[in-house]
């Protein structure tokens, strides 16, 4: 099978993302990349935990007073849903339904963008309160950890948007199937990291 083969839903392979050697390489390579991303985030989590609530003498901000769980919960729900919609996109890819792939990927992007908007609102709100990036070690650690996640979300949005636009007129092929698959893997990863952020930063910050 090569890139020029024309498919029908009946001949479309079970694991299209791994049907070519390039696809297989992308698949394994991306999992390994995610492994190194995990270590990167682990380092930032460790830094955050070490510096949580640490600031100059008389710092007025603590996790209990700062964080607002309803907002964080809403963001969590939005991002979890966007993970689900990217699963739908992969489901349609398995069935060689390109319209379905595009539609659900587009919904994923919309949800991701609204998550990002809420994060920008949250950061803006904190800065307005005087909790700025350089105000304390705690603030630096918080913005770096959550901001790195936000940066990953933005990269994902640009990436998936580019995929949707680029392939709009071309349909599914063995060349772009691994690309969609890997993008959805990345999106799940971002979601999983956020689950940890929600737990470690927000829940443990307010309740713990």
């Amino acid at each position: 099978m090569d890139y020029n083969t024309k498919f029908t839903p009946q001949t479309w392979p079970e694991h299209a993302e791994q049907a070519t050697l390039e696809g297989k390489n992308k698949f394994v390579g991306f999992w390994l990349f995610l492994a190194c991303e995990i270590v990167l985030f682990a380092s930032l989590f460790a830094t955050y935990l070490a510096l949580k609530n640490k600031g100059p003498a008389g710092m007025e901000f603590t996790t209990q007073e700062l964080y607002e769980l309803p907002l964080a919960f809403g963001m969590t729900m939005i991002l979890l849903t966007s993970s689900l919609t990217s699963v739908y996109a992969m489901y349609h890819m398995k069935n060689y339904n390109f319209k379905g792939v595009q539609l659900w990927m587009f919904i994923t992007v919309l949800l991701g963008a609204s998550f990002l908007a809420l994060e920008v609102y949250e950061f803006n709100h904190y800065v307005g309160l005087g909790f700025t990036f350089g105000s304390s070690a705690f603030a630096s650690a918080f913005y770096t950890l959550v901001g790195t996640h936000g940066f990953h979300v933005s990269v994902g949005l640009v990436w998936i948007t580019a995929l949707i636009l680029r392939n709009a007129k071309r349909g599914l092929s063995l060349y772009n199937a691994p690309k969609y698959f890997v993008a959805s893997l990345y999106w799940h990863f971002i979601d999983v990291v956020w689950v940890f952020i929600f737990t470690v930063v927000y829940l443990m910050g307010v309740v713990g």
């Binding site: 190194c36 990167l40 830094t47 640490k54 100059p56 350089g134 580019a162």
Partner: protein, 634 residues
Amino acid sequence: MSSSVKKKGFGATVWDYLTTVDHKKIAVMYLLGGTLFFVIAGLEAVLMRIQLMYPENDFVSAGTFNQLLTMHGTTMLFLAAMPLLFAFMNMIVPLQIGARDVAFPFLNSLGFWLFFLGGLFLHLSFFMGGAPDAGWTSYASLSLYSPGHGVDFYVLGLQVSGAGTLISGINFLVTIINMRAPGMTFMRMPLFTWTTFVTSALILFGFPPLTAGLILLLFDRMFSAKFFDVMYGGNTIIWEHLFWIFGHPEVYILVLPAFGLFSEIIPTFSRKRLFGYSSMVFATILIGFLGFMVWAHHMFTVGLGPTANAIFAVATMAIAVPTGMKVFNWLLTVWGGSIKVTTPMLYALGFIPSFVAGGVTGIMQATAPLDYQLHDSYFIVAHFHYVIVGGIVLGLLGSTHFYWPLFFNRMLNETLGKITFWIFFIGFHMTFFLQHFLGLMGMPRRVFTYMPDQGWDLFNFISTIGAFLMSAGVILLVLNVIITAIKGEPAGNDPWGDTRTLEWAIPQPIPFYNFRQTPLVRGLDPYWIEKQEGNKEGMVYAEPLGDIHMPNNSIVPFVMSLGLFIASFGALYSPLGVADDSRTWAIPVLVIGLVITFGSMIYRSLKDDHGYYVTVAEIEALEEELYGKKGGNK
């Protein structure tokens, strides 16, 4: 080099190397780039040794000495040893496993250019207001308050070149997992491929903590974050942890491939299969695993408490077990073999006692109470140079001789090689052996001078003479390379006569697609098996001759790296930085650089790149041109 016989103009050759995705050409570029930085870092060492030759010497100032010391360490580890090892990995691993290229040829090129431009950026610091001066470890309590841009160069340069290393690590992992020829099972992989595999895994898990640590330092210095600022609740120990969680595996990242190279050289010239192959594989994995469990032994004197110190001390000592297994396996490979003492073999035989000496002093330092005495003394300097020069540099020099015919189809001069070895080897022991005693006598490391009549004068003098001898050795090697380039005869395949693995079975010069047909591997040491059975071709094939799919060349990796290189200057002179030396052009340059990088990423992802096919007719025409007659290689 080996993949092209047509004469090309200079411009065309440069363009070819800028755009190439061929692992053999990238290997040559790594070799050149690594050698360049190796020579620079070596010169820095010589300057430091001249300064320390006499007490109260004033050859360089204290500030310059700090810069030399920092750049020597940083360059040797990140920009000399690793790229030189990458040169061998790139050249040999795809050939050893019977692949036509690495899994991601485009990323391979990107990794090289990121490394090279990152290294170049770091070195431009010498001409732009001073190099980094906080030591290669760049502890935050020092580096945060270092005036000028030195530390910014360190942070940005390492960030860029570190990204290149990470990319290469992932590339080798996928190559080894997915691209092995039929029959090349994991337990038939040559030891160098195995050590590359484990090293790549260490890179995968070891470099992200460094990236994180560098980000924190960058934010502290440029965006007034407060990670390490104690006044604002920060904690400088976080840097030490992140740095050493990377830094200790880094040692194994460097030494494991050197172990692998020796594990190729020793069986070849003992003319015996490697003793205890499976235990070697097991030991390699175990060293890789334990390498992540021991980082705090660099921090015994920080005050983590007796429990933490005891745990890390025991874990550190445990690494001696798999390393000892390896040493005994090498010895038992040599034992009873039909030994041929060639230059590479000399390096291997010199390596074993030197490295063991470095390992034994390592165990001494692992004993936490004793380490309180040894910490930050010349004993430490002696220890890690025994490990790094005695292990890695001897490995690199030995395999340079061993693999030169594979790279360039020429043999380096053996007599000159042996002279080089003895001069370098004697110089190495002369330089570093006495430093153990200097350390025990109380000489602290990183000092730029010392008072006379403390019993340190003679040993320091002898040490400096040793450093001159090592330089003489390296100069001889360079001469050897030049002589070979001018006068050398084509070496052909299997020039050593006793090689065992697949990379030697390919006809020389190696065609750009490596294997005209994918080989079938019938056991450990496949080339040896075929030679024993009288197979003139050296390989059996897993497929009939057919069209070969190859990747397209691309300039995009270079442009992508260049963008980050440009952006680094913008970040360095940004108005937010600590150094209080901003330029108006900084932000535009930063933006332009990032636009170039992200633009080329988007270009890469939007433009289809299917590669191309080399047809059977083209293969036959090329082989006739290379070897004179169709299909043959003898």
